[in-house]
């Protein structure tokens, strides 16, 4: 039997999944906050290790940050670069997708302010 409420809910979820195909993978507020914090280091050309990233803010616990780092890596926003001298040290670095994400955000901000 047709239940239009269920069909509509499914449609919304399907629409979200379809939109992910063309857009950047969606970021939740915590992921956005983490990217913003990391971008501070990246814009200063500073290298940030995973351990440093886990302590970059007191607002989010270290275990949560670690979990979100993994999520951001899965979504292609960050990559881990192994230190040339010490294999145990890994740096959190931005990807091309992150750059285009920030570019798009910048353009949208300009558009909104004009």
């Amino acid at each position: 039997m047709a239940n239009f409420k269920l069909i509509y809910q499914k449609f919304l979820n399907l629409a979200n999944a379809v939109e992910e195909l063309s857009e950047f993978p969606t970021l939740d507020p915590v992921e956005q906050k983490m990217l913003a914090l990391l971008s501070k280091y990246w814009s200063d050309k500073q290298k940030i290790t995973v351990v440093e990233a886990m302590h970059m803010t007191t607002e989010i616990s270290t275990s949560t940050i670690f979990r979100y780092l993994k999520k951001l890596r899965q979504k292609g926003y960050i990559e881990l670069v192994v230190d040339e001298m010490d294999n145990r040290v890994k740096y959190v670095s931005a990807t091309a997708q992150t750059d285009s994400y920030f570019n798009k955000m910048g353009k949208l901000m300009l558009k909104a302010s004009s």
């Binding site: 039997m1 047709a2 239940n3 239009f4 269920l6 069909i7 809910q9 499914k10 449609f11 979820n13 399907l14 629409a15 979200n16 999944a17 379809v18 939109e19 992910e20 195909l21 063309s22 993978p25």
Partner: protein, 192 residues
């Protein structure tokens, strides 16, 4: 009793909508992509494959019924061999249903599709195309119809392109709807 009739009417609407959608997309495909047609059953671009996936994801069994009636109407052997037309339509309609259910179970996507992401959707599309071309191939072999692995390959490619085109159209439609729904707000703010 009234509720039952209401449900029955809604179900009939869904089935008719999917069937009509199938017929329209099938005709459009035959018109626009006739160049890519390999045999009467196989085309290198087959946009109804996308509708098949979307309708099964949204309407489940009702989608299967709609697809069955739609593919029965458009079946090339409908007027000459009705049994063959029914069997091919059944294969065509049941395929995406089985493919989507198996993929949903494997990828742990719930019935409401809340955990569905782009990656899972792409995998569903791939699996659905693979399932479709293989089952058609085995049916053609079983029914002693002309069946070759090259046709099976072409059907797979056609389904992939079809799903890609439908999902792209879906994205464009969503963007247009969003743009249209935002415009009045902008106009309002200009007025203020």
């Amino acid at each position: 009793m009234h509720q039952f009739f209401n449900h029955a009417r809604n179900s009939a609407l869904c089935i008719a909508g999917v069937a009509l959608g199938w017929v329209l997309f099938f005709k459009l495909n035959a018109y626009v992509f006739s160049y890519f047609e390999k045999t009467e059953f196989v085309s290198l671009v087959f946009i109804p494959a996308g509708l098949r996936l979307v309708s099964v994801l949204l309407f489940d069994e009702l989608g299967v019924l709609g697809l069955f009636f739609g593919s029965l109407i458009t079946s090339p052997s409908f007027s000459t061999n009705i049994n063959e037309a029914i069997l091919i339509s059944l294969v065509s309609a049941l395929n995406p249903y089985l493919a989507v259910h198996i993929t949903r179970r494997l990828l742990k996507v719930d019935h409401l599709l809340t955990q569905l992401s782009a990656k899972e959707l792409v995998l569903m599309g791939l699996f659905s195309s693979l399932f479709n071309c293989l089952s058609h191939h085995f049916y053609f072999e079983f029914a002693n119809l002309r069946a070759s692995w090259a046709d099976c390959e072409n059907m797979f490619i056609g389904d992939i392109f079809g799903i890609g085109i439908i999902l792209t159209l879906f994205v464009i439609c969503l963007k247009l709807i969003r743009k249209c729904s935002v415009q009045p707000v902008e106009q309002k703010s200009n007025q203020i």
